[in-house]
């Protein structure tokens, strides 16, 4: 109250003059402080920029080395997929200076994908921007630049490149133009590959590029030779379940995803399901041995020339017409003998084993392209049990088969197949037991017998102790089995005295040739592929051939009756 009373008096009174002077000083002081403050602020900012900006700039320079999408490499570091800066050529039709008709002809000469008329329509459309070529090679860019049309624009944009071209195309898959994976591992690993924190480190697949190359070369040679419509091949590490090579022919080139043949897009190794025939027989014998139905390889079965089962008769290509041992059944691939073993085993136990081996569900692998297996389902009676025993009436993928053999020969442990290399941060899973170790061990001699004395003789690679089983299954054409079209398979394991790798090769509809004396069975066309493949990859995979080592065959040879 008091001050309020005094103030008007002070301003309006006699002390007005000195008061005005001090006010001026105050204002000047304030102005000076403001100027000083602004100067200090600028100086401080400059100092800050001087001290910190350069390092930030250096950090930004380091960035270009990290690709926009992580590389994919094989297990030895060979690049399988990379992102590179590719040239793209575009044109602004609305800014065109030259004659569209003339330019269209020149474009058609340089890029014959489209006709001159199509180019002319594109140039006269009046659009603001059209891509001419998105993955142009430098030669094309130079030629286009020489045209001298200012409306043509060149730019560099990241592009996914697969240096091995069509090799392992089904495994790698491909990306769309925006760099998003749309198939194969590109799609499965989309998040990992585009994660900014992890882009710098490549993803290592379990594939070995050398083995993959060998498998594709040998299979495609056989496919051409026997005029097959397709083929599939798998090399699997028995102990870990890693896929060392997996191929499906005809090949698919992920560099040009849109321009592959329709049939090439189909991955026969994981998506296609086939009745794989006699290659199933070792499973049946192993199941029976594990369940105690078959005590030893000397157990005898009556093997007539035909066995009535339900409404039809099971036959053999090489009928015994006498009692035969389990070893002989396997050696000559007898359907009749195996059907009897399966019947003894029974439907419930067979289904239980197949379920534990993962045969009743889509194959366990990272890929999305997986086929549903076909089984007898609700009709799994005695007859179905018998036919499934020798691989008919059940259709699985070749990868199922490879994994089944791995399970059978690694000591009886099932593990999921994988395309990602196992390392310290990604250890081998525990797996689940399917067969006993004893069964796994005893089966070695039986499968080796098939190669040394039986139907798979052509699959032997000298010194590599190959064991395995042939399988020839008739394809169902128009709802009926026909002898004309078959799927031939060979499932091999090497070295049999200490199993390390499974090799599965399959030919879809091979024809007989003069060289095979009119046969189109697996022993004639696909077994030699396995032999060649093992002969080439064995030493690459660290298996040293040794002709003085072999499986102990005494347990089986004594039950094989020598013919002639």
């Amino acid at each position: 109250m008091a001050s309020a009373a005094i103030l008007p008096d002070r301003y309006g009174g006699a002390g007005q003059r000195p008061q005005g002077l001090s006010l001026t000083y105050q204002r000047l002081m304030l102005m000076m402080l403001v100027f000083a403050g602004v100067t200090m602020l600028i100086a401080g900012r400059l100092l800050f920029l001087q001290l910190f900006t350069d390092r930030g700039g250096a950090g930004q320079i380091g960035n270009p080395l990290i690709p926009p999408r992580a590389d994919i490499v094989d297990r030895n570091g060979t690049p399988l997929a990379r992102t590179i800066d590719a040239w793209s050529i575009a044109i602004h039709p609305d800014r065109l200076l030259g004659d569209p008709a003339e330019l269209a002809v020149k474009l058609a000469q340089l890029m014959p994908e489209r006709s001159a008329a199509e180019y002319q329509a594109m140039l006269t459309s009046g659009k603001t921007f059209v891509y001419l070529s998105r993955r142009a090679v430098p030669e094309l860019v130079a030629a286009m630049n020489a045209l001298g049309e200012p409306a043509i624009e060149f730019s560099r944009e990241p592009q996914r490149m697969y240096p091995q071209t069509a090799m392992a195309g089904h495994i790698l898959g491909w990306t769309d133009f925006d760099g998003n994976g749309v198939a194969g591992m590109e799609r499965v690993l989309q998040d990992r590959l585009s994660d900014p924190a992890l882009r710098g480190t490549p993803v290592a697949l379990s594939i070995d590029a050398r083995v993959q190359g060998v498998m594709e070369a040998e299979l495609s040679a056989a496919m051409t030779k026997f005029s097959a419509i397709g083929a599939a091949g798998i090399v699997l590490d028995i102990k870990t379940g890693e896929v060392i090579a997996m191929t499906s022919l005809p090949q698919l080139n992920p560099n040009k995803p849109g321009r592959n043949a329709e049939a090439a897009g189909f991955n026969r190794a994981t998506l296609g399901v086939y009745e794989l025939g006699s290659t199933f027989k070792p499973f049946t014998v192993a199941m029976a041995m594990d369940a105690g139905v078959v005590k030893g390889f000397g157990q005898m079965y009556n093997c007539p020339s035909g066995l009535k089962a339900g409404g039809f008769t099971i036959t053999d290509t090489h009928p015994f017409n006498r009692a035969c041992s389990v070893a002989e059944i396997m050696k000559e691939s007898s359907n009749i003998g195996t059907a009897q073993i399966a019947a003894q085993l029974g439907s419930a136990r067979q289904q239980e084993f197949l379920r534990k081996m993962g045969f009743l569900e889509p194959v366990s692998i990272e890929l999305n392209e997986r086929g549903r297996t076909l089984t007898p389902g609700a009709n799994w009676g005695d007859v179905a049990t018998m036919t499934v025993g020798y691989g008919h009436g059940i259709a699985v993928t070749p990868l199922h088969l490879a994994n089944g053999y791995a399970t059978l020969f690694n000591g009886g442990i099932w593990r999921p197949s994988t395309l990602i290399k196992y390392d310290s941060r990604h250890p081998v899973p525990q797996g689940r037991r399917v067969f006993s170790e004893e069964t796994s061990y005893r089966m070695r001699a039986l499968l080796r017998l098939v190669v040394t004395d039986g139907t798979g003789g052509k699959a032997d690679a000298k010194g590599y102790r190959v064991g395995g089983k042939t399988g020839t299954a008739e394809k169902i054409v128009g709802g009926r089995y026909t002898g004309a079209a078959v799927v031939t398979t060979f499932a091999g394991v090497f070295p049999m005295d200490e199993p390390r790798y499974v090799v599965v090769a399959m030919l879809d509809d091979p024809k007989s040739t003069a060289e095979t004396f009119g046969f189109h069975t697996a022993g004639w066309n696909v077994a030699p592929v396995v032999s060649k493949v093992i002969g080439r990859i064995g030493s690459l995979l660290g298996v040293q051939p040794d002709e003085r080592r072999d499986v102990n065959m005494t347990e089986v040879l004594q039950y094989v009756k020598k013919e002639g």
């Binding site: 080395l65 090799m167 190359g213 594709e216 010194g463 002969g535 002709e547």
Partner: protein, 273 residues
């Protein structure tokens, strides 16, 4: 007074100088930084180039391409199991000693005779090549080509017995030398070499290739046999005798051949002749 007058000027100059030097320092730093950034950019550009070149190389050398080149040009195949060896002993077994010129020419060598006198001197020592005097007859009448190889018996006789195992020793050393001389067909050094050899070799036996080995000759040759090995390694002059002799006896070394059980002794024997 003057200093006082210029005081402000000096101040200004000092401050200006200091400011200028500070500015120079910062300018220098900025230049260095720019240089560093430029080098870093270069490094990055180089790394990008490396990456793109690696990609290009990998694409050009892709598996299918290599496979094709192999099918068309190289025609290499995977090693067969026989090409894998377990250890070095298996490897050593593969070594095959191809017969040399000396070994082959040994096939047509002619006889020598062992005498009773010689037998006690070298009992059960088939490896010791008897030094025999060898004379090879050349088809053309070329007198200088007939040489004599001989050794002093006196020296020899002192040595043979105590040195019974010894002769074997120098053999390995002698062998390669012998071979080499055989294949080398230069005629020039021969006469020179033969001379010193011939000198001490008076009592030494003279063997004529035409199987005309007379007994006394052979007898005397036998004792000389052992020393042949020895002298070779010892006196420098004597080995010189050997090549000469060997060459001469290219076709006349049969006796040596017989005496020599091991290839080594054989080679040496050649030298002795």
């Amino acid at each position: 007074m003057i200093a006082r007058g210029f005081k402000s000027v000096i101040w200004v100059a000092t401050v200006g100088g200091a400011a200028l030097s500070c500015y120079m320092v910062s300018l220098r730093v900025a230049t260095e930084r720019n240089e560093l950034a430029r080098v870093e950019r270069q490094i990055i550009a180089a790394k990008r180039d490396i990456r793109s070149l690696q990609t290009e190389l990998g694409t050009r050398g892709r598996m299918t391409q290599l496979e094709q080149w192999n099918a068309e040009v190289l025609a290499l195949s995977a090693p067969s199991s026989a090409q894998f060896l377990k250890d070095e002993f298996t490897l050593a077994r593969l070594y095959r000693n191809d017969p040399t010129v000396a070994d082959r020419s040994a096939e047509v060598r002619l006889a020598s005779a062992a005498t009773e006198a010689a037998k006690p001197a070298a009992p059960g020592k088939p490896a010791t090549p008897p030094v025999v005097q060898a004379v090879a007859e050349r088809p053309a009448a070329q007198p200088p080509l007939i040489h004599r190889a001989s050794f002093t018996t006196a020296e020899v006789q002192a040595k043979p017995k105590p040195a019974a195992p010894a002769p074997a020793k120098p053999k390995p050393a002698a062998k390669p030398e012998a071979r080499r001389t055989v294949s080398a067909t230069s005629t020039k050094p021969e006469p020179d070499l033969s001379k010193p050899a011939a000198k001490p070799g008076k009592p030494a036996a003279q063997r004529i290739a035409i199987a005309a080995t007379s007994k006394p000759e052979a007898a005397s040759s036998r004792p000389t046999a052992k020393p042949t090995a020895k002298p070779i390694s010892k006196p420098a002059s004597k080995p010189s005798a050997k090549p000469e002799a060997l060459r001469t006896a290219a076709a006349t070394a049969k006796p040596v051949r017989e005496a020599a059980a091991t290839p080594r002794a054989k080679g040496k024997g050649g030298g002795g002749n």
